[in-house]
């Protein structure tokens, strides 16, 4: 008897039932229009300092979520780097002439796009995640071509960029706590500049952490692989 085949068919059947149940439940829920939190956001959007409701939620109304999320990113970064593989696979280090030229055209336009997205976030779709993702993609492109991430050689700078995102949230929350007694109360009248500072810091952190997660270790962030202690095979197999 082919038990694995039988298990596959049985599980496929079960999963289909689950999918049908999920679909029925979703159709049921989607028909209702409860008083959602979105109404409160739109009603009090003017107080948030920005006109894009998603940015208002991320950087003002539910700033706590965004802060915790940056902490998750930071934790993932430290987890990845402390578990880095003993045998690092070297990325391509010899880009062709054409590849180098093309990428050196693409990178500046990605930088401009990231800055635009960051700025647009206050009134249109955009914001620190989008900007961070574009910046991160630019960095990964740089890595794939075999160039170095500028400044990545300096450990202090690396660590600084990693924590500046979550750190700016903390500073804002502490200042708000001292001034108003409420943690994470973004200052009245100064919402926009405060958010801008947080946004820039968070975008930098997100971008660098994404690049670092892709690279996996500090060695991979700098172009010329020195004689690292990457002999591997020391775990005996």
């Amino acid at each position: 008897v082919n038990w694995r085949g039988a298990a596959k068919i049985g599980w496929a059947f079960l999963v289909t039932v689950v999918a049908a149940a999920v679909a029925i439940a979703l159709f049921d829920v989607a028909g209702r229009t409860p008083e959602t939190a979105g109404h409160h956001v739109l009603n009090r959007l003017a107080e948030s300092g920005v006109t894009n409701p998603v940015t208002a939620v991320l950087l003002n109304f539910r700033i706590y979520d965004t802060f915790l999320e940056l902490l998750v990113l930071t934790a993932a970064f430290w987890g990845c780097w402390s578990l880095r593989a003993r045998t690092a696979t070297d990325l391509l280090r010899q880009p062709g002439l054409l590849l180098g030229r093309v990428v050196s055209i693409i990178i500046p336009s990605l930088l401009v796009l990231a800055i635009y997205l960051l700025w647009a976030g206050s009134s249109r779709p955009g914001g620190e995640f989008q900007a961070g993702a574009v910046l991160g993609a630019a960095g990964i492109l740089v890595l794939l071509v075999g160039w170095a991430i500028p400044g990545a050689r300096h450990r202090l700078l690396r660590d600084g960029v990693v924590v500046v995102g979550a750190g700016s949230f903390l500073v804002v929350s502490l200042i708000g706590w001292v001034l108003t007694g409420h943690v994470f109360s973004v200052f009245q009248g100064l919402e926009k500049p405060t958010m801008l500072v947080i946004e820039v810091a968070a975008a930098l952190s997100i971008a660098f952490i994404l690049i670092a997660l892709f690279a996996g270790s500090a060695d991979q962030l700098v172009a010329t692989p020195g004689p690292e202690d990457e002999q591997g095979g020391d775990d005996g197999h």
Binding site: L26, A30, D65, L213, F214, H237
Partner: protein, 100 residues
């Protein structure tokens, strides 16, 4: 209050999300390779993200910003968790398969 919030959103998104959830569940259990299992978790998560956004009613004719913000947050968390998972998978010695 909002006339845009009538009978649900596009049904295609609801069906799509149920399919993604089913695919993720199926391959999470049936895959032998750990990276495939991780991908299955990601697909399952994507299905839930789609469901969350698709189910939330429109507010005054525009998409509800709260689920959108939460899904953006969730995507970033999923990406970082996936990266950590991949690193963990790489640290598992070769030849140690999930079953058999």
């Amino acid at each position: 209050m909002s006339k845009g919030a009538m009978m649900g959103t596009e049904p295609i998104y609801l069906i799509m999300s149920a399919c993604l959830i089913a695919l993720g569940l199926y391959f999470l259990v049936m895959s032998r390779h750990r990276i495939r299992q991780l991908m299955a978790v990601n697909i399952l998560g994507s299905g839930i993200f789609v469901a969350f956004v698709a189910v939330s009613p429109t507010v005054d004719g525009m998409a509800d910003p709260v689920p959108q913000a939460m899904v953006v947050t969730g995507i970033v968390v999923a990406v970082s968790a996936t990266a950590l998972g991949l690193v963990l998978i790489r640290r598992i010695p070769e030849g140690e398969s999930t079953d058999e």
